[in-house]
Amino acid sequence: MEDLKAYIESGVLELYVMGDLALTEQREVELMAAQHPEIKTELIQIEKSLESYAETNSIEPAEELRDNILAKMYNSSSSEAIVVPMSSTGSNNISFYKYGFAASLAFLFISLAALLIVYNRLQDSKQQLSQLQVANQTYASRVNLLDKQLGYSNVALTVLKDPGFTYIDLKGTAGAPKAKLLVAYNSDKKEVMIDLASMKMPANDTSHQYQLWAMVDGKPVDLGVFDSSTDSTGMIRMKAITNAQAFAVTLEPKGGSVNPSMDQMMAMGSV
């Protein structure tokens, strides 16, 4: 009995109630309490006093807390089973999105690179195309020029091959001593051609034109007008005439005159 009293007074029971004992000491107290009702009674007394002390120091929690906490208590029993699979699917989802994002990013870069290559090729093609178009135009205009020249040559050749043509060299007068014009005349077919390629006449301005005349029985007959410029080429057909004895060229106002201005006589020659 004295031992029990000493045990009670050692203060170990108080420490037991306050959770301040090592596991082996706790077991010892529990064993003692089970064997000795006095110790059990003492423990209950200590617990009750501390319980009252805690009550004295109690603080009323906010009222809205009650429903929250009660709800949490109920939900907590079932929630544990749910939380585990949810968190695992969650992490699966995260890794799925992680890989998905990485794949999308890689695909984006590949697409951009491909786009850049295609764009560069397109630019090359466009450049080549415009170069070809320029070359094509050059050829086309060259062909046009040659075609035109071929046309002139054919006309000249026809005239030259025709034995009915006679050639009259119109020579410069005192007003234009260096002037020169070749007239081809076919009296049977009444054709008159002038050769612009070999013509040497001073260039006329825009308000004047040369006019070709034929002298028939001493009277001038109008055969049409023509221009002289440095790039004149080929042979052109003038108006038809028979019985021409001579040809002459005068410089007239643009469009020609009814009668030749004799003081503007530039060249002439007899058949």
Partner: protein, 183 residues
């Protein structure tokens, strides 16, 4: 204080209801003990927000680990107050909490709490003054340090600079004073 009628059961009624996990058990548990447990938690953690979270954790833990409660080893309240105190102490010693509050050390808070909490003492309880008069200051200090702040008696002896034996004796005397007062 509370307008709502609170549910109260005897301890044996409550234990039976808790075993059956009846809804009334959780409500009675809360109504009967939330203020006492919150008082203990709030003494350790001054932040109202964290103390409220801890009160919730405490009740959830009590509710879920009730099967491990052994009534032959002690009273229900003793078991519950240990759960509350341990959760609060784990919290205050956690890295997260230290970083969060850059708080005062545990030892510093002892004094500040006693002045700060004076106004919080449950006004429903009569005779607080007499109780405080009955408890000697050195008894109150050691009791609060171990019971409310979770100091071990070894830590308390270091903190107060008194021998272990004296700590134990003072604790016992303090509780004897309480017994004398409450019975």
């Amino acid at each position: 204080m509370a307008l709502k009628r609170k549910i109260k059961l005897t301890e044996s009624e409550l234990l039976t209801a808790l075993e059956g996990r009846e809804r009334i058990a959780s409500e009675a548990l809360y109504d009967m003990y939330s203020a006492s447990l919150y008082g203990v938690i709030h003494r350790i953690i001054q932040s109202e927000e964290i103390a409220e979270d801890l009160l919730q954790d405490t009740f959830v833990k009590i509710w879920n680990s009730f099967p491990s409660f052994d009534s032959s080893k002690g009273r229900l309240f003793t078991w519950m107050v240990n759960i509350a105190r341990n959760l609060a102490i784990d919290k205050i010693r956690s890295k997260e909490f230290r970083n969060q509050s850059k708080n005062q050390d545990i030892e510093n808070s002892v004094n500040s709490i006693d002045t700060y909490k004076a106004t919080f003492i449950n006004p429903d309880t009569v005779g607080v003054k007499e109780l405080v008069e009955k408890l000697k200051p050195e008894q109150k200090t050691i009791l609060d340090l171990v019971y409310f702040k979770g100091y071990t008696h070894v830590e308390a002896s270091e903190e107060l600079g008194i021998p272990l034996g004296t700590v134990k004796t003072r604790l016992r005397m303090a509780i004897l004073s309480l017994r004398g007062y409450f019975n």
